[in-house]
Every structure is written in C-alpha cells, then in structure tokens.
Amino acid sequence: MPGSNLREFEELVLLAVRMNGEKASGATIQGALDTEAGRAVSLGAIYTALDRLARKGLVESWLGEPTPVRGGRRKRHYRLTPFGLEELTEAREIRNSMWAKKVAP
C-alpha cells in the first residue's frame, strides 16, 4: 500500500476524530480543535480536510438520523478507518522515535 502524506492539520483532525469516537462530526471536531489545540478553525477548513482524508481512505462517514437537538437536521458522523488509525499511529511513532534521539551537541 503506498504511503499517504498527512498534513499537520489533517493529523489534528484525525486525532480529533479518534478522540470523539462515535460522536465525531463537523461541530465536535471543531470544538475539540478549539479546546485541545487552542485553534479557532473554520468549519469549511474541517470539511475540506475531512473530504481529503475520506478520499485517502483514512476516515469514513455516514449520515445519521435527524436529531431533535439539531433542529431536525441530519448529522454526518465520521470515524477512523483501520488504515486511518494505522497512519496516525505511524505518524506518532516517527515523531516519538525522533524525539527520543539525542540532541547533537
């Protein structure tokens, strides 16, 4: 399987999807980025990132039933695919192993 490049922002979005589990949606991801990363990101940016991640097979989405909270509007849910989790893990491992290296004097 060819590798896929993760932008930093996409990585954050993936992490937010993972964090929210079954509850991941545009709004919850936005909330997570706000609270966790202190970033006020526009929904448009999140949708764009999610589209790209879905194209690369890192996330999958489905349309939920209308909920009363959202004024009867349907909600699109997202979750990580196994490949998405793998990518995310690998990205973390690369970082960890690099952090673990000694700083050259």
Partner: protein, 911 residues
C-alpha cells in the same frame, strides 16, 4: 436565534449544494450554541465568518484534490510517503504565496484605516456590479426552476424583416406540433393575464389562469405533486372536457393541502370544472419574467371561460390571432442548426393563415415571414429587448463606478507607496527580486479585492431584490446571489485588484538600494500617474452625472406632463357579470343598478364604468363623417372606448363643448357619441363639431360633446383620434368600475365591495387599484433610471471628490518643507492656498473638458430611454460640469487651507 445567522443560513443555502446543506447547517447551529456563551455579537460574527469561508475552502479542497492527483503534495509530509517531494515547484510557489498572504494581512493590520477605506470603496464598486450581474444571471442565464434539461427546450418564433413575434395561432401550433421531426414534443400556452372567478364550496375568489396545451407539463418535464397532468383527449375539441390543474399554493391556501382535492369540483366563471392535479410550488412556468398562475386549463377550454364564449372560440380556430407561446423539446439527436433548417422546410409546406391575412389586409409589402427558433426560451424577444434596454445603461453605470473606485484605491496605494519606499529598498537590498516584490504587492491588492468581494456579495444579497423591484416590469423569481454570481464577483475582484494594484506595484518595485540610502524626493512619474487617475475619475464622473441629470430631467418632465385626466382619488375595480352567467340585458341592468347605488355612498363624488382605462390602449375602428372628405374608402380611423354616464366627470377629462353622457343615453335614446378635440379639429376643421353625425357599423351617431385629448397609451404620446360611445348603446362585456372619491380611494373599497356583494354575493371583484397606481407604474420606467443612475452618479462624484482630496492632501503633506521655505521667504497665506486650490481646479477642469466630450459622444445611446429632454440637453451639459467644478473646489479647499497654515519654522525643522 438572532437575525444575522438566519440571513447567513439563507446565503449558505444559496452557496452550498443542497445535499450537503442540511448537515453543514446542523454543524453551524451546534457551534452557534457554543459560541453564544461568549456573547451574541461574537456568535453572530463567528457564524457569518464560517458561512463566508465555506465556499473559499471548497475551492481550496478542489485545488488540493487536483494536486493530489497530479502528485503535487503538501507542505509538511509525515508517514510512509516522507519522500521529500515538497521541494517541487508547485509547493515552493505555494509556500511563497502563503508567505505573501500572511505578509499582506500583517501590512493591512498595520494600517487598518487604509484597509478599511479601500475595502469599503471596493466593496461598493464590486457590490454594485454583483447586484447587476445577479439580475442578469437570474433573468438571462438561469432557466426557471424545475424544468427538466432546460437546454433542450427552444421557443418557436416568427421573424419578420425587422421584427420578431414570439406568438403563434392555434392552427399554426397544431401544424408544427404534428409535422416536425426534430422535437420530442411541442407545447403551447397562453400567458396573458386571465383572471377567473373561482367558486369553491362556500366562497368565490379570483385567481390567475393560464390555458396550456395538454402536453405543457410533459414537454417541460414537470410532474404534478398530486394527481395527473392533462390527457391528449382533454384538449382536442373546444369546450368538451372541463378539467383544471391547480397550483400547490392555491391547494394549501384553499384546501388545506387535502389530498381529496383530486376529482373534486370547482366552478370557473360559473362553469363546473374537475380538478385533476396539483402543480409543484416551485414551478414558475418556462418564462423568467412571468409569475406562474394558480390555475391551468386545457387550451380548448379557452372559450368556456371567456365572457360570451365567442372570443375564445375565435381564438382557437382563427389563424389571425397570435396568442400562443410555442416551446419544443429537441430530440437528443437533433441540434439547433438542423432544427432551424427543419423549421424552414416545414414552413414552406404550411400556408400560414396569418401571412395570407396580412397580405390580404395590408397593401404594402411587409416582407416574408420566416418561422424559426428564438434566442431564449425563458424570455420572449420583446421581454429580452426591454430588459436589455434597462440593464445595459445600468451595467455601464456600475462599470464606471467600479473603475472610479479602482482609480481611488490606486491613488491611495500610490500615496502609500511613498511611505513604503524604505521598506521596498530594504527588501531589494536583502536580495528580493523585482518579480518577488511585485508578486507580494499584487498579493496585497488581491487580498483587498478578496475582502471587497465578500462585502460585494453581501451588497448584492440585499441589493438585487431591491433593484429588481425598481425595474418597471413585474419580474418573477428570487434574485439572490448563487455560485455563478460568486464566480463573477471573484473574477471581477481579481481583475479590479490587478487594475488598481499593478501600476503602484510596478512603481514601487522600482525602488532600489539608493532609495534606502538617501530617501529620494518627489517622483515625477508617480505624480503624473496620480494626476492621470484623478482626471480619469473626473471624466467618468461627468459622464455618469450627465446621464443621471438627463434621467432626472426626464422624470421631472414626465411627472409634469398633461395626461388629460385627473389621477388623484380614483378607485378602479373590475366586475364582469358576463363571467357569472348574466345575459346581456341582465348585465346592463346589474351595471345600471350598481352605478346608482355606488353614487349614493357618502364619500363618493361620482362613479362610472369604462371598457378601457388609461395606459391600456383603446380599440381601433373606422367611421365615416358625411359632408367631409372622410367617406367611403377614406374612412377615418380612431381609437374608441365604451363608457358609462358621468365617465368624463369621474375620470376628470374636461368636456370643452357640448355635454357628456347621461343615464338616458341608452337603448331607447338617440345614438350619441363624444369625440375628442383632435377628431373635432381634423374632421370638421373650423366648424362646431357638436351636432354633426358619424357613421360607424352602418349606424348613425350624433356628436353630443367634445372632450379634451387624454392619454391612453404612453406618457407623452402624440394626441390621437378618440371617440367614446355610451356602453348602454354599444355593449361589450369587459367592464371596469371607476369611482371618484372625496378622500383616499382605498378607504372606500369595503363599502363599494359591499354594495356589489349585496346584489350578488358570488360575483368576483378583481384588479382593484387606484388610477394613481396605474400612473405610477407608467412613471416607473422613468423613475427607476432616474433613481438608480442618480445614485451611481452621486457615488461617482463622491468617490472622485475623495480621490482629488487624497491627491491634494498628499501633495501638501509632501511639500510642507517647500511651502515652509516659500512662506519664510515672504509668500502670503493667501498665495499658498490659492496655488494649491488652483492646481486642484486645473486638474478638475481637464477632467471636466474630457468628460463633457465623452458624455456628449455617448449621450445618444440613452436617447430612447429619455423623455421630453434631448440627450444633448444644454441645461444638463452646463449644470453638471459646474457642479463637478464646485465639488472639486470643495475637495481642494481643505488641503489648501492646511497648506496656508504651515508654520515655516516647524516645516523647516522637520527632518
């Protein structure tokens, strides 16, 4: 929820594809709840920001998707694909762009005053253009909603040598429907304003109706929401199958959306009909301008709903009545060219009744008729012409406003350029290439344009509906910006940014290290560019302001022109007893009684009835006048009207000789006629017309009175021949009640309606309006241009004044030192001030001269829209330049005063 998010949601629904809209909305609303915790204002602004950014991100997403495919990857790569292709050209360019954008934002933040002014100016200029484009887009470029594959639809049309008629007779329609090889279906419909009295269980209302061919909905590809559309056998012979389809709006209004409506019964003008289907709410018909009706009937039912029935039957069978708009759907294998050629072949096989009628009726050779395909389906040729006539000058006006706005921003940028020379010098010293510097400056301009375009979209969102309301045609549809408008605005903003950004960027990028070392003084070429820009602005302003002046003069003239009647305090309403099964004598009795009773009402000064009302034209007919040259073949043609007793008093047309109709001018009395002054002078020159006789319809009519000429067609029409007959002696079933009141006519309406309902509770009263409204609608064509162009003219004038002020202020600021020296050497305050002032006026004078020449040359293009004033009206051409010179002097005055207050010591101490 506060107001702002609701507007934003509407905008979102426009911009986002419908399938995604709901989920996006949900996310937005969920976020909104959270943001509310930080305050209402924050939440609203945040909401707007989100909505406005969504289309932007869509573009980014599409671009990324493309670059994913061609292999240009992102800036930061992690994971298995960490192969370092980020050094490819594409990503380097992206990096530079991102840098420039960031830098641009920072520059803006450093000087927010400049940014705000520039964005406001651009936003107004771009917004005016986006507004106009929204109109053009919804009227010319977009098909009305719900039509299936609108590109396959084409309108049939008749070409004459110099005319184009978009209407056909019924036999013509049937011929082309049944004999062509290029259409999968051809439908026809009558979109004339037909108002019917609709009787349901316990009430009578009036509703608009179209008569349509049985395949109307099939050809358009529109399915009913309930029931079915018409069957072929329901439209083969006049009057046999009384079926009707109703609109969804009508269905929910009067039936509470009850599905049992199908197969239920309804009466139209007293005739029983069966409802067979319900037409979707969104359906607006195939025409972009017309409003869809509440009722649809088969063409062959036309006779059944016409008073008396004969006219409708004539329409179905007659070949000389051109009343049907004919639209076909091309077969998939046919293209426009083959279809066009095929129409020519078909025509040669069909002896058009209309062509032979024209030949038989008129001697002069009108040239051959040619049947072909029209330019637009959703606009008739006439509608398109009319719209073009209104929209073209407006488009030119908004274009000029944008150019002026661009020039203004360019002037501001040039002024700033001086302040930024050091910065550019440093950049050049540090090794930035000239291209890189230009790129960065252009990015700054594009940012300004981008923000201006968002502002512009918001202007268009509110402005388009407003502008559409001003155009004196009843335009249907909702005029809201959609994706094409968005694209147009962005392209326009980009173009504008290049336009205003390029010259300052080229100028500024020329800075070199020398400038860093010694700040160079005044740049000669930069000053020239600034002056040229100011002159160009003033030139354009003169052209616009002259146009505005001409339109305003037209409006003033049109408002003053003598209409021949009194428009104040007149109530008009239509009642057609013939529609409700009244025979002729019953109708006459009804009208007679109604007039008596209405006249008795307190607050009514007089009441009468009429066949034709002003601005709706008159009938045309010929008569002979024994003892004059107008006998035998020389019959005299005049417009004629049938009116009730007291008509002239009611409508306010003065009688200059003799008397007007009285209630005893009826079937039993002698046949009488009233002629207008024009007829009296032409037919019996130098004689007293009262007492003369005319012969019309082989009957003798005695002239009892002469009325003043009144307008029946257009404001400012040439006086033309008019004769009036007493309706009791020459009856026609179309009748309008005219009621002159002692106060606001609308307050009398309930009592008048009550009088009529007391007589017959089922009778339909429709077309209720005041004569003032009728006149206002006619004046509309003048006021729309006057209002809009005057608005743009003022905007242009204001922007030019700001431009001139900016240049002058800048000049004074730059030359403070020089002025200080001069004053130290003994120059007087007055001399300094008048030097600055003189320079401003000199600039303005150049602009004015050029502008007057340009305006004079282009004035003829708007001549057809003017009224009562020549396109080269001397008064306008003198006042407007004077006004502009005054404004220019005003704009230069403050900088001049500032210059005169320069303190020599302070000025010299500077640096």
């Amino acid at each position: 929820m506060t107001l702002a998010p609701r507007m934003a949601i509407k905008l979102l629904r426009r911009l986002a594809s419908s399938d995604k809209c709901s989920e996006v909305e949900g996310d937005l609303l969920e976020g909104y709840e959270l943001w509310l915790k930080r305050g209402r204002l924050y939440a609203s602004l945040r909401f707007w920001r989100e909505v406005l950014l969504i289309p932007l991100w869509r573009v980014v997403g599409a671009w990324r998707e493309r670059s994913d495919r061609v292999g240009l990857n992102g800036v930061v790569s992690v994971g298995r694909g960490f192969s370092g292709n980020h050094s490819s050209r594409g990503s380097f360019a992206t990096q530079k762009l991102a840098q420039d954008v960031r830098y641009g934002f920072r520059t803006m933040a450093k000087d927010p005053g400049f940014a705000i002014v520039a964005v406001l100016i651009l936003g107004l200029g771009i917004g005016a253009n986006s507004t106009m484009f929204t109109l053009v887009n919804s009227l010319f470029l977009q098909a009305p909603p719900l039509l299936n594959e609108p590109n396959e639809l084409v309108g049939l049309t008749i070409f004459d040598e110099d005319e184009q008629i978009d209407y056909f007779s019924y036999p013509d329609y049937v011929f082309y429907r049944d004999n062509n090889d290029v259409f999968s279906g051809v439908m026809a419909y009558d979109d004339g304003e037909t108002t019917l009295a609709v009787g349901m269980d316990d009430e009578v209302v009036q509703a608009e109706a179209w008569t349509v061919s049985f395949n109307f909905f099939d050809v358009l590809g529109v399915a009913p929401v309930l029931g079915r559309s018409f069957l072929r056998e329901e439209d083969v012979a006049p009057g046999v199958r009384p079926v009707v389809m109703i609109s969804q709006g009508f269905w929910s209004r009067y039936y509470g959306a009850d599905p049992a409506v199908v197969n239920s019964s309804i009466t139209l003008n007293g005739q029983p009909f069966t409802i067979v289907g319900v037409v979707p709410r969104e359906f607006r018909g195939p025409n972009a301008v017309k409003t869809a009706p509440d009722l649809y009937l088969p063409l062959n039912m036309t006779g059944a709903i016409s008073p008396g029935g004969e006219e409708g039957l004539e329409a179905i069978n007659g070949q000389i009545w051109l009343w049907l708009r004919v639209i076909g759907r091309l077969r998939p294998e046919a293209n426009l060219e083959t279809a066009r050629a095929h129409m020519g072949v078909l025509q040669s096989r069909w002896e058009s009744g209309f062509a032979s009628w024209i030949e038989a009726t008129f001697d002069e050779d009108d040239g051959p008729f040619r049947v072909g395909l029209g330019e637009h389906v959703h606009l008739t040729h006439r509608q398109a012409e009319q719209l073009r006539q209104y929209l073209t000058p407006l488009f030119l006006a908004v274009g000029a406003v944008l150019l002026i706005a661009c020039a203004n921003v360019a002037i501001l940028l040039l002024a700033r350029a001086s302040a930024r020379q050091r910065e550019m010098g440093i950049r050049a010293a540090l090794g930035a290439s000239r291209g890189r510097v230009i790129g960065q400056l252009l990015t700054e301009s594009l940012l300004l344009g981008g923000i201006g375009s968002i502002f512009g979209i918001v202007v268009a969102y509110w402005g388009a509906g407003l502008a559409a309301g001003l155009i004196p045609m009843s335009l249907a549809g909702d005029f809201k910006p959609d994706l094409p408008v968005f694209g147009f605005t962005i392209a326009l903003a980009g173009g504008a940014a290049l336009f205003f950004g390029l010259v300052p960027a080229l100028q500024l990028s020329r800075s070199d290290i020398a400038i860093f070392l010694h700040r160079l003084g005044h740049s000669k070429s930069r000053a020239n560019i600034r002056n040229a820009l100011v002159v160009a602005q003033l030139t354009l302003s003169i052209v616009l302001a002259t146009g505005a002046g001409l339109f305003v003069r037209s409006l003033l003239y049109a408002q003053r022109v003598d209409l021949g009647f009194e428009q104040d305090w007149k109530l008009l309403l239509n009642v057609i007893p013939g529609n409700h099964g009244y025979a002729e004598d019953e109708s006459k009795e009804f009208l007679r009684v109604m007039l008596d009773r209405i006249q008795m009402l307190p607050g009514v000064r007089s009441a009468s009835i009429t066949d034709r009302i002003p601005f709706r034209g008159m009938w045309t007919s010929g008569f002979e006048a024994p003892g004059t040259e107008y006998v035998d073949e020389n019959r005299y043609a005049s417009g004629f009207n049938r009116v009730g007793p007291g008509y002239f008093e009611t409508i306010g047309i003065p009688i200059v000789a003799g008397r007007e109709f009285a209630s005893n001018d009826d079937e039993l009395g002698p046949n009488v006629v009233v002629v207008n002054e024009y007829v009296a002078e032409e037919v019996w020159p130098g004689e007293y017309a009262v007492g003369k006789t005319i012969i019309r319809n082989e009957t003798e009519w005695t002239v009892i009175g002469v009325a003043k000429n009144a307008v029946y067609y257009d404001i400012g029409e040439e006086p033309r021949a008019q004769t009036y007959h007493a309706f009791l002696q020459d009856y026609r079933p179309q009748t309008t009640f005219a009621v002159a009141t002692a106060g606001d006519p609308k307050t009398m309406l309930p009592q008048v309606q009550q009088v009529i309902r007391d007589y017959d509770p089922n009778i339909a009263i429709f077309n209720i309006r005041t004569l003032e409204e009728v006149v206002a609608r006619e004046l509309g064509q003048f006021s729309v241009m006057a209002i809009l162009v005057a608005l743009f003219g003022l905007l242009a004038l204001f922007l030019s004044a700001v431009g001139l002020y900016g240049v002058q202020s800048f000049l004074v600021a730059r030359r403070t030192r020089e002025i200080g020296i001069r004053m130290a050497m003994g120059a007087l305050e007055r001399q300094v001030a008048s030097a600055v002032l003189g320079r401003g006026i000199a600039l303005a004078a150049v602009g004015v001269v050029l502008g007057v020449i340009a305006a004079y040359a282009s004035a003829q293009f708007i001549q057809s829209l003017l009224f009562g004033v020549e396109a080269r009206d001397p008064l306008t051409f003198v006042t407007v330049p004077m006004l502009l010179l005054l404004v220019a002097a005003g704009a230069s005055l403050f900088p001049a005063l500032r210059a005169s207050r320069v303190e020599p010591v302070e000025a010299l101490r500077e640096e």
